[in-house]
Structure formats: structure tokens, C-alpha cells
Symmetry: C7
């Protein structure tokens, strides 16, 4: 399995047609179009300038909205994942 480093998260990207799952519809205007995904794994957190570690605010299983232009794509065991920093996550879909 992929274990994210630092404050990164591994996201399993919703297929395009599942775009409305969890009620999220991608607004197709000129703005950055956020995307939905499920959190598969989270890193151990970000280290501040004073050495303190900031805990992650999302956990595996959360459905999140994120910026479409963020992250790197990785395919692992036939599944497409996105790896990005926690700061690129906009909101949790409750």
C-alpha cells in the first residue's frame, strides 16, 4: 500500500460519472473546479518552524473536496490515486 509522507494524503478519485456522489456537482466555470475523492491514507502531519508537529485534520474514509489542479497522479495495483498536501483540501463532505 502507499504510505503518504509528511502532511500528504492519498485520495481515491471519484470516476467522472460519479461526479454527483455526496451531492457535489463540479461547477464548470472558469474558476478552479474542485473535485471529490475519498481519503485512503494520511501522513503523520506537518512540522512547524518550531519543530512542533500539527496533526492531520482529515482521516481515512473522509470524502473531501479538493482543488483539481493539485497533487500528483499515481496508479497502484490498477487503482488511480492522487497524492497531495493537506493544504490542497478545501472541505469535508459530511
Amino acid at each position: 500500500m502507499l504510505k503518504p509522507l509528511g502532511d500528504r494524503v492519498i485520495l481515491e478519485v471519484e470516476k467522472e460519472e460519479e461526479k454527483t456522489v455526496g451531492g457535489i456537482v463540479l461547477a464548470g466555470n472558469a474558476k478552479e473546479k474542485p473535485q471529490t475523492a475519498k481519503v485512503v491514507a494520511v501522513g503523520t502531519g506537518r512540522i512547524l518552524d518550531n519543530g512542533e508537529k500539527v496533526a492531520m485534520t482529515v482521516k481515512a474514509g473522509d470524502v473531501v473536496v479538493f482543488d483539481k489542479y493539485a497533487g500528483s497522479e499515481v496508479e497502484y495495483d490498477g487503482v488511480k490515486y492522487l497524492v497531495m498536501h493537506e493544504k490542497d483540501l478545501l472541505a469535508i463532505v459530511e
Copy 2:
């Protein structure tokens, strides 16, 4: 519902014709044209370099003026929202 992360806010954007609600008229000059919206949800706040958390200065229900070029658009359950950082909010309309 959308739960914003970090120091972000979820805004419900005023429809264009409601542009004057709360007395705000968008100045159409070359400058950034601020926009009005109602705060629907706020994050838990920003974390400083020393690990301290700074409380949010706006709350759900506030009507705010913000920079039109800020934030990401998300449509959820048929409603159009904007997700942006608190620092992109200019003022509260009292």
C-alpha cells in the same frame, strides 16, 4: 453539508441581480471588484508558526464582502457555494 478545512469559509454567493442586497454595489472599474455573500460555515482557524490556533473572525450568518477572484466554486445539493480562505474576506456588512 460541507465542512471547511483550516481557515476556510463556505460562502453562499448572492445572485447577480441581488447585487445591491445590504447596500453593496459592485464598482465596475479596473480594480478587483469585491462581491457579497453570506457565510454558511467556517473552519476551525489558522495555525501559526508557533503552533497557536487563531480563531476565525467571521461566523455563519455574517454577510461579507470578498475579492471576486478568490476561492473555488463548488455546487452541492443544487446550491452554488464558494470556498475561500478567511484572508480573502475584506469586510463584514453590519
Copy 3:
């Protein structure tokens, strides 16, 4: 009324022909041409990296000189305002 957020100020912009009010004439050279305005409202101040809040150094009623390229324009109840950060103010006209 507009309540500025953070270290922002709300300025009521002097009409162009009043350019000389308070003795200020805009130098028309290639440099940034500062502008004059009256402070209508001020925010609560800037938060430093150590969490400390720095008080504002201008107050409502002050006449200030500022950079013409700074700030966002907002029209509220028929009056034209500028919203900008305190750091974009150059001097107070005493």
C-alpha cells in the same frame, strides 16, 4: 456599515477635483501616484507569527496618503469606498 477585517481600513476616496484637499497634489510622473482619502473605519489589527496582535496606527477621521494601485473598490449605500491593508498607507496628513 462596513466593518473591515484584520488590518484593513475603509477609506472614503476624495473626488478627483478635491485632489488638493489637505495640500496634497498628485505628482503625475511615472512613479506610483499616491492618493488621499479619509479613514472611515479600521480593523482590529494584524496578527504576528507569535500570535500577538499589533494595534492599528491610524483611526477613523485621519486623512491619509496611500498607493493608488492598492485596495479593492466597494460602493455601499451610494458612497464609493476603498478597502485596503494598513501597510498600503504611506502617511497621515496632519
Copy 4:
């Protein structure tokens, strides 16, 4: 042998045809295409503004995913290595 400085790592790059080793397939879309490699050596870690040293989170022998555009190539004793900062590593393949 190469001893990396600061928070750098020395990676032995997987040959292109071994692209699927450890289950990783490089997604060929427009996004940064992460790459796989084995960690050969790690530096002593990053020094923070307060003088504290942050231990490395990867060790020799780990298989990692990293950004393809990161790092500098070095060939040493006939073997091709990549030298990059720890922050350019995305995840560990467990």
C-alpha cells in the same frame, strides 16, 4: 559512495520497463508523473529556523514514489542515481 547532504536522499532509479515493480504504474496524464525508486542513502536531516534538526522519515532500502521533475541526476561507478530533497518524496510503497 555518495553521502547526501542535509535532508537529501540518494535514489536508485527503477529502469523504465520495471515501471510496474511494487505495483506502481506511471499515470501518463498531463499531471506530474511520479516515479518509483529505491532509497540508497539518506542525509542527516533538515535544520529548522530554531536550530532543531528534523529526523529523516525514509531510510535506505525503502521504495518510494517521487515527483519526476525533482532532483539532479548523477552517475557513479556506472550506476544512475537521483539526488533530491526529502520534501520531493510523495509516499513509501509498503
Copy 5:
């Protein structure tokens, strides 16, 4: 009078023909050509990240050399001034 804000200074610019006052001749090469001026007023100083205020190192009456591309021009009561940050001053002419 103009009261500069923060770590800014108000400078009264030497007329071009007075270019050699205080022995300073502007080197006309491609580099930034420093300029001479008299300090008319100084701000209260710069605030550091830890909240400490750093006193100004120039005072009214000093003749200084500064970068020609720095600052904003303001004309007040018929006199041409430059408003700039202390960091744009290169040296004091003693």
C-alpha cells in the same frame, strides 16, 4: 505636515542641478542610480515578527543616498516629497 507610517521616511528631493550637493554625483551607468535627499520626517519604526519595534536609524535633517527606483512621489503644499521605506536608504552623507 506629512507624518510617515511604520518604517517610512519623507524625503525632500534635491533638485537635479543640485546633484553634486554634499559631493554626491549620480553615476549614470546601467546600475540603479542612487539619489540624494534630505530626511524631513521619519516613522516610528518597523515591527518584527516577535512584536518588537526596531528604532529608525535615520532622523530628520540627515542627508541620505537612496535608490532612485524606490518610493512614491507626493506633492504637498507645493513641495515635492518622496515617501519610502527605511530599507531603501543606502547611506547617510556625513
Copy 6:
């Protein structure tokens, strides 16, 4: 002799044909092509924001790999040297 300032190092650049000394061959791909050199002299170290000095991690006599695009060239007593910051050194060749 040249005494480097701050966290800089003075490097004696290997002649092109000696490219393979110490086993290092420059990978000629599009990436930054690191280069080899011997450390001739080191500065006293870098000063952090809190005033602490960080000791240098390389010493005179080390053979190092560095980024080819870093540093400034100086010829002194007929010998060609490179002066660069320690952060531009990638690894020590042991």
C-alpha cells in the same frame, strides 16, 4: 588565499576530462547536471533567524557533487575556483 564568507565554500573545479574522478560521470540529460569539485575552504557557517550559527557539514579536502548552475567563478593566482553556498552542494563522494 580566498576566505569564503558566511556559509559559502570555495571549490577547485575538476577539469572536464577528469570528469570521472571519484567515479562520478555527469549524466547529460535535461536535468541539472551535477559537477564534482574539491573543497578548498569553507566559511564559518549560516546564521539562523534566532541568531544561532549552524556549523558547516563539509570541510576542506572533501570531494563533493554540486549543481552545475550554482555559484560564481573566480580565478585566483591562475587557478579557477567556484564560490557557492553550502546549500548548493548535493553530496560528498566518500
Copy 7:
């Protein structure tokens, strides 16, 4: 005389033909070509984020190598000087 501000130094530039004084010959390749000069005066030092002042590491009388693209030219009492920050000095010629 010119009294440099902050962490700046005043350098008396070697005339072109004296380029080899102190054994320094300017490498004419594409890299930044360092230049030699004598330190005429130094500022009081740099102030760190924590308010601490860092003493200067060069003094009047030192011969230094610096980046040719750094600094501002000033001519004073018929002598050509360069004013630059200490960080633009590469090494002391001993």
C-alpha cells in the same frame, strides 16, 4: 563621508586594469563574474527577526570579491563607490 546603513558596505571599486590586484582575475564565462574591491566603510549590521543584531564579518580595509551585478553605484567627491549588502560579498582576499 558615506556612512552605510544596516548591513551595507561601501566598496571602492578596483579600476578595470587593476583587475589582477590581489591575484584575482575575472573569469569571463557566462556565470556571474565576481569583482574585487576594497571595503571603505561598513554598516552596523543586520537585525534578525528576534531583534538581535548580527555583527558584520568584514571591516574597512579588507579586499573582497563580490557579485558584479550587486549593489548601487555612487560617486562621491570624485571617487566611484559601490554600496551593497554584506550578503553580496563572496570572500575576503587574504
